[in-house]
């Protein structure tokens, strides 16, 4: 095991490769195109692991991130975020060299692209089947038709299909809840397909979330999946039921710096600038940022410490509460493993993980100023 001095985000490369292999196989088995979301890892290195597993198409969440991966040789990239018209110059540059897919949810934005794009570009229409973050309701066919009219009358725009992200599956607590969301979403999407596929042969339906991709078996009417979080998983995905603890490929290692018997609290060097303040609400209502697990010679234990949670964060401080036994044996200088509530934001803040074999994994955040971000 590498020597830990400061908060360090550890990656178990074998677990990460297994997670990638699982999803590649599942997509193949279900006859789905896998277009994994690369915002979860934002790394050329981890991207190469996908490439070795046969992945050719990817999803990103911003134009600058698309550019980051295009420079690494990815040539079929979907930006699954409502197109920001101020980045038309960047879109033109990318569309001239790769197969670029943009996402829209208004005729105005579609028209702007049609009027300003200089190379062929592909258009996803963002559909909202229940997450209510962004996208058009599937019954809002008037606006969908208006967007398709714009696409139809442009010689540069091509309709890829409908894109949905059921992010609400990351907030539930069981396979049954995920299935309910999935079945409802499938129904709405199949109606959309029925309505549009005659006029738009070859259009696809693309769905996005990790719990659905992992837990569901029936993908009737779906052509493409875009999960991303499964590459690491985390405590939140575990509580949804999308992974076992042993499937989680990252853990934060943090030094204990103080203990306070009056409140039975352990203070670690590891705070909001390492974990992010995105909390998980446990079944009993407790708000946590992670769960403690013991580090081992070559990684960490798959049996987390019962009841020991990261309960509060300020900039560099983390507060851990646990059992009497845990409190007694934990002393300043010990290094605790913490399974994070939300992997992706931690990976972003930590500027990428380091493998348990001490290989630093590259991350977009260390170079993004080069991409104008």
């Amino acid at each position: 095991m590498i020597k830990i001095k400061r908060p360090t985000l550890l990656l178990d490369k074998q677990k990460c490769l297994s997670n990638i292999a699982f999803m590649v196989n599942k997509a193949r088995e279900k006859n789905l195109v896998l277009r994994p979301h690369f915002k979860s890892h934002q790394s050329h290195t981890i991207g190469s692991w996908y490439r070795n597993a046969g992945t050719e198409k990817i999803t990103v969440s911003s134009m600058v991130m698309a550019n980051f991966f295009a420079t690494d040789g990815w040539d079929d990239i979907a930006v699954a975020f409502p197109f920001n018209i101020h980045e038309i110059e960047e879109a033109n540059k990318l569309a001239s060299s790769i197969t670029l897919h943009l996402t829209v949810c208004s005729p105005e934005t579609a028209s702007f692209i049609a009027n300003n794009i200089t190379s062929p570009v592909n258009i996803y229409i963002k559909i909202d089947t229940g997450y209510h973050r962004t996208g058009l309701y599937p019954e809002n066919t008037q606006v969908i038709d208006a967007i398709l009219d714009v696409v139809n009358s442009s010689d540069k725009l091509k309709f890829t299909g409908f894109l949905v992200h059921s992010g609400e599956t990351s907030k539930v607590r069981s396979r049954e809840d995920v299935e309910k969301i999935h079945v409802d979403s499938l129904k709405k999407l199949s109606e959309l397909r029925r309505r549009y596929e005659n006029k738009w042969p070859g259009m696809i339906i693309s769905t996005g979330d990790t719990p659905t991709a992992v837990l569901m078996e029936d993908f009737t009417g779906i052509d493409e999946i875009r999960p991303g979080k499964f590459v690491f998983f985390d405590l939140t995905q575990h509580y949804v039921g999308a992974c076992s603890i042993s499937g989680i490929s990252i853990v934060m290692a943090c030094p204990v710096v103080a203990k306070h018997p009056e409140r039975k609290e352990i203070v670690i060097y590891g705070g909001a600038i390492h974990f992010s303040k995105d909390e998980l609400i446990l079944p009993d209502g407790k708000r946590v940022y992670g769960q403690v697990t013991e580090l081992t010679d070559n990684g960490w234990s798959d049996k987390p410490v019962k009841g020991a949670y990261l309960c509060d964060l300020s900039q560099e401080h983390g507060i851990i509460r646990g059992s009497d036994e845990f409190f007694e044996k934990t002393v300043p200088g010990m290094i605790l493993g913490i399974i994070p509530a939300r992997a992706c934001l931690s990976v972003n803040l930590m500027q990428g993980p380091v493998t348990t074999d001490n290989e630093k994994i590259d991350h977009f955040s260390t170079v993004k100023t080069q991409y104008g971000a």
Copy 2:
């Protein structure tokens, strides 16, 4: 005004300089040493603005950050975070070249330092007068005495004094609430002083938070203040009463990318990786991440848009809700200003702001791998 394409953290340099001047003058007037907390900005450039205003002593929150500022010529640095024994090598290196102050809250950590430090180093004892994050209760004189015994018997350690951070002042809603906390803290600290000053002449009492430093007038028994947040201020500090809206020196500028009439929601390009998920709870119970304000030719309006708040965040998406009038006139492509709930975490995520005159401000996060973090 600079052209905004993507989420951009704007700094009004004049407001920032005024905030620094205000605090420098206040400390001088009250006969207090100002040792500002540099974790708020983590910038050599902004550090130089303090230096020009006469600041000589600074506070940081980690050993790597101490090193970052030492390389820029700062030679009296306090690390206001419980010492992490795994960084003794770094402490030795710094202590050999600058006046270094470490913070401890246990005899074990003090002994570790005494046994392993190779150059003279100064020790603050961390006291908890009510924030309950870390530190010793002032009545816990047995442990305080044990730490002082360690200091006393070491020829390398020197007792600087007691260090407290009343972080709970950032959670209240009025000057009166801040005063209550401050008066209670002063009382506890004066008892500590009475108990220890005969044996430790020259020991100081150091307090830390922005609301106290800004709003209070009576600092009897306090020698040093270490506020940091006042350099930017933010919506949270405004709701405490520590600043007017016009005193806030940073605003995030974000493009609108979608609007959804069904839910009267505006979607911006600007999410958890730009703002952080640290929320502010408004007096009416609403949880928000920021408030909308209009951008102007040379900055932004000091009159934020009434009722228009950043209400939800995912990785790149932000959701804004506001009045009917605000919703009607806001369209994709517009750039909205957002006064952030928490400035310091946004500054960290954005890797420093850019001034309204288009000067990019340096930030530790872009170089921290050079410092081993």
